[in-house]
């Protein structure tokens, strides 16, 4: 039985301000750090494309199912985000190690020839983000002070 009630003057003024703001709304990226790559650019894709995230896509288990190449892409192009963190965890579970000086991921190709307190030395596979590919490196010395 209350029925509509007319807007008072002050509410009409408030509505004008709100209506003006309605035409330049905040967007989710206004609350996120500036992204060097991969900014949010929502694009309308055909409806038959998956429109929602895959279930559990924010878990390490999901990232472990991704190929190393995909994980490297996420690691280098989504830095400072939870995705980078999950990709790093998944890579470590696949026995990759991050070298903090070369900022590249290394994986033992075979048992190292030398192991001591400071370093290990042997043949490694590493991912070269400049050439964007995996390379083999023989006789590489992996100093533990650079092991993240």
């Amino acid at each position: 039985p209350l029925g509509p009630s007319p807007l008072q003057k002050e509410h009409q003024l408030q509505f004008q301000m709100m209506e003006a703001a309605f035409y330049h709304l905040p967007t989710p990226s206004d609350c996120e750090r500036l992204r060097t790559y991969q900014q949010r650019q929502p694009v309308q894709t055909p409806q038959h494309y998956p429109q929602n995230q895959l279930p559990h896509s924010d878990t390490v288990e999901f990232f472990q199912r991704l190929s190393p190449e995909t994980l490297f892409f996420v690691f280098y192009y989504m830095e400072g985000t939870k995705a980078q963190y999950l990709a790093a965890k998944a890579l470590k579970k696949q026995s990759w190690r991050f070298h903090t000086k070369y900022m590249m991921w290394f994986q033992r190709h075979e048992e190292p020839k030398i192991i001591n307190e400071e370093y290990e030395q042997g043949t490694y596979i590493y991912f070269d983000y400049e050439k964007w590919g995996q390379r083999k490196k023989e006789g590489f010395t992996f100093e533990y002070k650079y092991l993240e």
Binding site: P26, T36, M78, G80, T81, K82, A83, Q84, Y85, E148
Partner: protein, 47 residues
């Protein structure tokens, strides 16, 4: 009749809390991992 609140983009049956990935009041999608700023080790800030 109000709104069908299951169509606002929130997984209301989720066993976990929703707020850590809440996309905001005007978004009908939760945040993806790449949308969430994370305190990663400084060495990861390769760029």
């Amino acid at each position: 009749m109000g709104q069908d609140l299951t169509t606002l983009g929130l997984n209301l049956n989720s066993p976990e809390n929703l707020y850590p990935a809440f996309g905001g009041p005007f978004s009908d999608q939760p945040c993806r991992p790449q949308d969430i700023d994370f305190h990663v080790p400084p060495e990861y800030m390769v760029n």
